[in-house]
Symmetry: C2
Amino acid sequence: MAKIMAVANQKGGVGKTTTAINLSASLAVAEKRTLLVDIDPQANSTSGCGFNKHELTETIYQAFIRGNTLERAIQKTTLPFLDVATSNTDLIGAEIELIDEEDREKKLRVLLREIEEDYHFILIDCPPSLGLLTVNSLTASHSVIIPLQCEYYAMEGLGQLMKTISLIKNRLNPTLHVEGILLTMFDTRNNLAHQVVREVQRHFGGKVFKTIIPRNVRLSEAPSHGKPVILYDIHSKGAESYLSLAKEVLFNGGNH
Amino acid sequence: MAKIMAVANQKGGVGKTTTAINLSASLAVAEKRTLLVDIDPQANSTSGCGFNKHELTETIYQAFIRGNTLERAIQKTTLPFLDVATSNTDLIGAEIELIDEEDREKKLRVLLREIEEDYHFILIDCPPSLGLLTVNSLTASHSVIIPLQCEYYAMEGLGQLMKTISLIKNRLNPTLHVEGILLTMFDTRNNLAHQVVREVQRHFGGKVFKTIIPRNVRLSEAPSHGKPVILYDIHSKGAESYLSLAKEVLFNGGNH
Ligand SMILES: Nc1ncnc2c1ncn2[C@@H]1O[C@H](COP(=O)(O)OP(=O)(O)OP(=O)(O)O)[C@@H](O)[C@H]1O
Ligand SMILES: Nc1ncnc2c1ncn2[C@@H]1O[C@H](COP(=O)(O)OP(=O)(O)OP(=O)(O)O)[C@@H](O)[C@H]1O
Ligand SMILES: [Mg+2]
Ligand SMILES: [Mg+2]
């Protein structure tokens, strides 16, 4: 039975895709069978793992809207234990196309049931919004990882995200809880970043991962080579921090 | 007759809000009457200008959905020539609430007609998506400013954004054109950033603003003080770069 985790935050550019790809790859290196589900129409997790979104004919869109099996959207990667359910821009129209459907929030949960026996972990990379695609992800997940950039605006949005999570917990998915808040792009030379870290640790205490992801240029270079950072530069601070996050997630087992 | 510019890019965290606030403030300092319209439910432009979104009773949501006048959502700022049409999280539901409305894409255009005589410039801060709120903004605007972070994923999304702009130009707003692509968060020490700048200037030539916004910590500190950067630290590289962008926009007049 796979542990399913959404990687979500409606604030843009906080490191959702970078976390989804590199945590998935780090779990795969620990020989945990891992599926990375890209449910963002931008399809950055898809291209960050080396797939050309313009050449893909079967993506999560077909499973979501055309009723195909999710299996047909799953591609193997060069890492033995890592698969990716790919996305492309077809998904842009999905939120409108699903509007009149019964149980439109539960579509992804039903799709993941078909394949969850095949994996230890399933991570879902969400778009920067609280729309139907993110609601589907939160409804399908056991827990949610919240990447939080060490910046002022990112802190501002946290309250709204917590409200949405408890709304979904009450109405659609009673198992949903916060797996952890992950501080990202931490620049030690920046006072504001230190302030944000102190503030978040004060407010959310045990809910904050001990691992903090530093700002590290290798993390932003890796996607242009279509590789997770552990395959692009295993010795970088970026790779080390995501390997340590994987250890923390494995150590927690699942109870936060 | 105001010049109306949308600040849009579906990629998250590329500097839309930072550009909307600081370009607006720089135009106001040049004594151009300027209205900043916040159409993002995150309401970062609202808080970045010092307003507490939780205390506001009249925002753009009431104008959009309840049929109030836009004027009631407009607040004066400490800068004499700068006003803000504020937003808050009520706007999250707007896309669903407008689904069955006739002319749902033209709502903002109709609202702006009421007040456009009062301003020289109107800038619209868009959310990180290509949904109905962004479509409304592109339909209401004469041109669009595209902030582009000097990163790989940001470049990837540009093609889709250009497609959406030409779709809206053909179907809803024949005057729409690209005011300019603005390179943001440029870090001179980072090779990838230099590559992105070269690539974008090669592909888009005259459509790229000569001004490049450097990565500058004062830009990310200013919002926590509720001020545009020119009021927070006028001598910073961040303030200088947005003042130079304003000069470029004024020099272009409007014909790009
Ligand atoms: N720790 C880091 N150090 C340096 N750069 C990073 C780091 N994490 C992410 N980045 C870069 O910052 C940008 C934003 O990150 P990313 O795309 O992962 O965020 P996101 O939350 O998925 O964005 P969106 O909201 O658009 O989905 C990307 O260009 C990425 O390469
Ligand atoms: N040139 C810059 N130098 C340093 N920090 C910057 C710069 N521009 C923006 N920032 C910071 O980077 C973060 C992202 O910028 P911003 O919020 O303006 O992007 P956005 O495109 O509006 O994001 P969203 O997609 O969530 O609306 C913010 O915390 C902001 O303060
Ligand atoms: Mg992403
Ligand atoms: Mg913004």
